[in-house]
Amino acid sequence: MATATYMEAGRAALAEEMRRDPLVWAVGEDLGRGGVFGQYRGLVEEFGPERISDAPISEAAILGAAVGAAMMGTRPVVEMRFADFALCAMDELVNQAAKARFMFGGQTRVPLVVREPIGMWRSSAAQHSQSLEAWYAHVPGLVVACPSTPADVKGLLKTAIRSDDPVVFMEHKNLWGLTDEVPDGEHLVPFGEARVIRPGRDVTIVSWSAQVHVAVEAARKLAGEGIEVELIDLRTLWPWDKARVLESVEKTGRLLVAHEAVAVAGFGAEVAATIAEHLGQRLKAPVRRLGAPRTLIAYAPPLENAVRVTAPAIVEAVRDMVGRS
């Protein structure tokens, strides 16, 4: 096991899958020069410009072409630079990729991966900062992955590339430089299997993507106060590990969901409602969720910070839930 950054782990996953399967190829703007964050650096030298393919600034064509190419038996990995730009290809993803298998009665599959980096990244403002994962979790036909660690980027991206479903793969821009241990070679993380980051008896915190690291900080602080948090990283929002979360909340009796995305109609609401439906009578405190207010993300740092779900905010919510505020 070696250490790697979140970015390098993704690059290694893609390279390994491309070596394993000649039908895997990547397409997007500026890939030949390494991609916006370096996720593709060096790959064109190994695989050539046909398989690490530069594309025109043409998001609908990039995604639409990937749909056609996937239906013809190849496995495209599509780069959208930012989740925000993927909105220019919404028809191709939601109406075409997600529906083709069903609509055509199982005659085809659309095995493509769309990489849509999400999240706040200092002063990128409203059109380069969104976390739109809940949108895709709402769409039948799509898989949604939101890895928080280099190991999970590698393991989930490899699974995504091998999957026959279209996968929306959301890396967090603030994590590109995060360094951690990454298993070598055949490391595959299945969809729908959450990771318990730390066990605890008092309250369950469910999170994903970069927010997981904020929750870790909060859980440490709470541990110092004698409150034991069980922290769960969902890793994929569809499918999501309902069983694991239910089991945890059954034990702790309390659930807080924390995510960076807007709270209103977010995936936190889905998790909260599910737990309330299944365990409502047995909960020791009402289910809580923390997310961004329903506003836009500003450029100036204090304004940007004002919408973040911070560790102190999580700490305060948990103290409140366990009656220690």
Binding site: A60, A65, G68, M103
Partner: protein, 334 residues
């Protein structure tokens, strides 16, 4: 360039085959429209009555292993590509035995076994998908051609520009066919289209373009043959702009009151099946033989309709199948 002229050496056998195919398309749709009246064909049906020459002339030049993508008005293209009329009729009636198991209906009809990758309910969406199918063919170094048909309304959506640019930049084996019936739903397309239209736009993107009379099946056939030859030779995408006219409303439910009866009557005189019959007649094919083509087509589609009517609806559980591998919709409903 205009389409190559069919010339004097008329291939009667081939024109007769077009005549049969055009009749099959028309009979299929007339039967489907009766099904709409009978309330067993549901949803929207978009007939291509009057436009059959494009479907027949284009698809006659495609091999079974070639790929075709169509639009909401795709029955003719699908039949031309070789799909089975009974399976198609079952699909229109939402029955077991339909190409898509009753999940698609007319607007999403597809038959992957004959390379027909789907009709599409979103105007112009098929253009970028076709470019991608051709991209895969090029990556895999296969010899197939992709043919993408769309209406004149589609040229005002972004994927038209994006898909043509993509195909041209990557020099992909795609034949784009604009089936220009002059209308986008109930609007005359030219009133909503800046500039000189489809062919001019394609030429501006560097695609060699054929402008032709889409009601002349021989012209469509000849132009497609030349375009497909160039595409197979690795010369990149080609564009066909075929002018035609739909004799019915936009859908089976559209009385088309936005145009005069005189206009339609005038266009009926130039409709493609009659024109083909006239040439065949002049070349010595007996009118009984031509009538037999029509009768055989009508019989085929009546039988298809009967079989479809007798077929059961798919079991309700199939509403939950073929969604995706990850996350079973029955287990994960809430």
């Amino acid at each position: 360039m205009t389409g190559p002229s069919p010339g004097d050496n008329l291939d009667i056998k081939r024109l007769r085959a077009h005549h049969r195919m055009m009749w099959r398309i028309r009979a299929f749709e007339e039967q489907a429209l009766r099904g709409l009246d009978d309330k067993v064909v549901l949803g929207a049906i978009h007939p291509s009555i009057g436009q059959e020459a494009v479907a027949a002339g284009v698809t006659a030049n495609l091999a079974p292993s070639d790929i075709l993508l169509s639009t909401h008005r795709g029955h003719g293209h699908t039949l031309g590509k070789g799909a089975d009329s009974t399976a198609m009729m079952c699909e229109l009636l939402g029955r077991v035995g339909g190409n898509c198991g009753g999940k698609g209906g007319s607007m999403h009809i597809a038959d992957f076994s004959v390379g027909m990758l789907g009709a599409n309910g979103v105007v112009a969406a098929n253009i970028v998908i076709a470019a991608g199918a051709a991209h895969a063919i090029k990556l895999k170094r296969e010899p197939h051609v992709v043919c993408c048909l769309f209406g004149d309304g589609a040229i005002n959506r972004g994927p038209f520009l994006e898909g043509l640019n993509w195909a041209a930049v990557f020099k992909l084996p795609v034949l784009f066919v604009c089936e220009d019936n002059g209308f986008a739903a109930t609007t005359r397309t030219h009133t909503m289209t800046a500039g000189a239209g489809a062919g001019a736009r394609a030429r501006a993107l560097g695609l060699p373009t054929f402008e032709l009379d889409g009601n002349d099946v021989l012209a469509v056939d000849a132009a497609t043959a030349e375009a497909v030859r160039a595409i197979r030779a690795g010369e990149g995408p080609r564009f066909l702009h075929a002018r035609t006219y739909r004799l019915t409303g936009h859908t089976g439910a559209d009385a088309a009151t936005y145009r005069s009866a005189d206009e339609v009557a005038a266009r009926r005189r130039g409709e493609p099946i009659g024109r083909a019959a006239e040439i065949l007649g002049a070349a010595g094919v007996l009118s009984e033989e031509l009538a037999a083509d029509a009768r055989a087509a009508i019989e085929e589609m009546r039988a298809a309709y009967g079989k479809a009517l007798a077929a059961p609806f798919p079991p309700a559980e199939t509403a939950f199948t073929d969604v995706q591998d990850a996350g079973d919709p029955r287990r994960e409903a809430f």
